[in-house]
């Protein structure tokens, strides 16, 4: 789609040539020497030839992506189509941040985002592979310039695609997850504490009239004069709500952590989605948004798209956050906060939910790697106190029944899940 094409313009080259041609005869007359005219003669010839070109070269540019969805670091094929009555087209692509042209066929790549395409028969095309290094919703636009004869005139047009590419975060594979303590009434992979249709045996007991004949344990009944049945635990799934905390605080300069929070949440959505759990999402980015519990690929994709719209926020509207929690979080929901934990508000809400009997987990993203260590002593002391307070917040959460796992760049999400699971096992042993 060509958004706009400007008319033909005279280049700087033509202006300089014109200056030389205009000055030459007068200089020759004033100085009484024909040398300036002689020197300017070929320049004048170039001007005449160059400006006798057709007035319009009518360039147009189309940039069409080969697919509408991709993952961070994966190449997306693009087709660049140029039409113009010229021999060469110079295309400048407006690539999003962290996007690079990894391969180009049918064009020469100049710099990081320039293409030179040879036009034959009024048109030319190039196939590109563009690798997006950052998740988001990306659309590539560009500008095409074509030159007239001797490059004395040029014409440009702006083009792009109406179709954007959704680049999903590169998610980590997690094999063992922290499962919800309580299950819901839907069939799934979790072993419920309740009895019902399932695989896991619970106990062998005397047959009751309401028991289904299929539950009769014939082996046990053969050794007795009464009928015995095998009770089983029901196979259920869980309800999970992921809370995306992108609060970075004022002037904290830890916006990078938001990117990591998004990656972790996307990984958790995929991992828990595979376990057929019902997933919900609460995002504290700007306006507080939430998605109710549901399952399925479409719902997961909707959650991922919502997660990708996450932006760093200084201070959310806490009243709205409380309303959303009241509306969405009920037992037996397992609430997992993914948070840099720089806000007391988040800690208080997690504690409040845990105190209300809700199963709560906290994946705390350590923002330290993105904080430049302060140089002066006073600020260094303040930084140390802040770190101690954050550590204390984690301890308070853990002591209050929240499964806490801390994520750092050198730890995988699987390690964090293991840490949370281990905390739960130790707590169960203590109880």
């Amino acid at each position: 789609m060509t958004i706009g094409a400007r008319g033909r313009t005279v280049t700087l080259r033509a202006g300089a040539y014109l200056a030389a041609v205009v000055v030459a005869p007068f200089a020759a007359l004033a100085l009484g020497d024909p040398a300036p005219v002689l020197v300017a003669l070929p320049v004048a010839l170039c001007l005449v030839v160059g400006l006798m070109a057709p007035l319009e070269m009518e360039p147009s540019l189309r940039i069409v992506p080969g697919r509408d969805r991709s993952v961070e670091g994966m190449a997306v094929p693009y087709r660049v189509e140029v039409e113009a009555t010229a021999s060469m087209a110079y295309v400048t692509l407006d690539l999003p941040a962290a996007a690079v042209i990894s391969e180009a066929r049918g064009a020469r790549v100049v710099g990081s985002n320039g293409l030179v395409i040879v036009l034959t028969g009024g048109g030319g095309l190039a196939d590109l592979d563009v690798t997006f290094g950052r998740w988001g919703n990306h659309a590539i636009t560009g500008q095409v310039a074509v030159q007239g004869p001797l490059w004395l005139t040029d014409q440009t047009a702006v083009g792009g695609d109406s179709q954007s590419v959704v680049v999903l975060p590169d998610t980590a594979t997690v094999r063992r997850l922290v499962e919800p303590l309580m299950t819901n009434m839907h069939a799934g992979d979790l072993v419920s504490v309740g009895r019902g249709a399932g695989i896991e045996p619970a106990e062998v007991r005397v047959w009751q009239p309401s028991d289904p004949p299929r539950a009769i344990n014939w082996r046990a009944s053969a050794r007795s004069e009464r009928l015995w049945t095998t009770d089983r635990h029901a196979d259920r799934n869980g309800d999970l709500i992921l809370v995306v905390d992108s609060i970075t605080g004022a002037a904290a300069e830890i916006e990078e952590t938001v990117g990591e929070v998004v990656r972790l949440v996307a990984s958790l959505v995929e991992a828990y989605g595979r376990g057929r759990h019902r997933l919900g999402l609460v995002s504290l980015s700007g306006y507080t948004r939430w998605f109710g519990l549901d399952s399925g690929a479409l719902h997961e994709h909707r959650l991922l798209e919502a997660v990708m719209r996450t932006q760093a926020v200084v201070d959310p509207v806490w009243m709205a956050v409380d309303r959303v929690f009241e509306r969405t979080v009920h037992r037996p929901t397992f609430v997992i906060f993914v948070s840099p934990l720089v806000s007391d508000g988040i800690r208080e809400r997690a504690l409040r939910l845990a105190a209300g009997g809700i199963d709560v987990g906290m994946v705390a993203v350590d923002p330290s790697p993105w904080i430049v260590p302060p140089g002066d002593r006073l600020r260094a002391t303040a930084h140390r106190i802040w770190r101690i307070e954050r550590r204390r917040s984690l301890d308070v959460l853990a002591a209050s029944g929240v499964a806490v796992g801390e994520w750092r760049p050198d730890r995988s999400l699987a390690d964090v899940m293991e840490e949370m699971g281990e905390w739960r096992r130790r707590r169960r042993l203590r109880i």
């Binding site: 300089a16 014109l18 000055v23 005869p25 200089a27 100085l31 002689l38 003669l41 070929p42 007035l55």
Partner: protein, 169 residues
């Protein structure tokens, strides 16, 4: 604002190098100070045009260069020759223009240099062929009037053409 690409820096440096090279050729005698002044004015105007982003600087440099050639003609010194002068003039303008253009469109450096050499050599060759005889002969008799008429006609034609072009913006 993104910094200019390497092609812009390299061709700007090339254009300035050509202008400085031309400035080192001065004539002896009473015209020497003017020749030297005009000679160094050319790279200064070029630098203003390219560094400060004033396109008029390149045009002014080209005009000054042409005037200087006339001064050399009066002084009777044809060194380094009219053909070489034309070649240097065109090379200077072309490189400056490429430096300018590469800020807004992707221009490969090797292709731009090859094109500059081709156009500059063509200009030098054309002047060389015309000036095979004695160029000073053109300066006598009715020649100035003819030259003036031709120049005025060329300028009129170009201005008419440019008017059509700019009128369509």
């Amino acid at each position: 604002m993104a910094p200019p690409p390497p092609t812009s820096y390299l061709t700007a440096a090339g254009s300035l190098a050509v202008a400085v090279t031309a400035a080192t050729f001065t004539v002896d005698g009473p015209w020497e100070p003017i020749s030297m002044m005009l000679g160094w004015l050319v790279p200064m105007l070029l630098a203003i045009g390219l560094v400060l982003g004033r396109p008029g600087g390149v045009a002014a440099a080209a005009a000054t260069y042409v005037v200087r050639i006339g001064v050399h003609g009066i002084a009777g010194d044809r060194t380094p020759g009219l053909a070489v002068s034309a070649l240097l003039l065109v090379a200077m303008i072309e490189l400056a223009a490429v430096s300018w253009d590469s800020r807004r469109m992707p221009i490969p450096l090797d292709g731009a240099l090859a094109r500059t050499v081709l156009v500059a050599a063509g200009a030098g060759l054309a002047v060389g062929l015309v000036a095979v005889g004695e160029p000073r002969a053109l300066g006598s008799g009715a020649a100035p009037a003819v030259i003036g008429l031709m120049g005025a006609m060329a300028v009129t034609a170009i201005l008419v053409r440019l008017g059509r072009t700019w009128g369509r913006r």
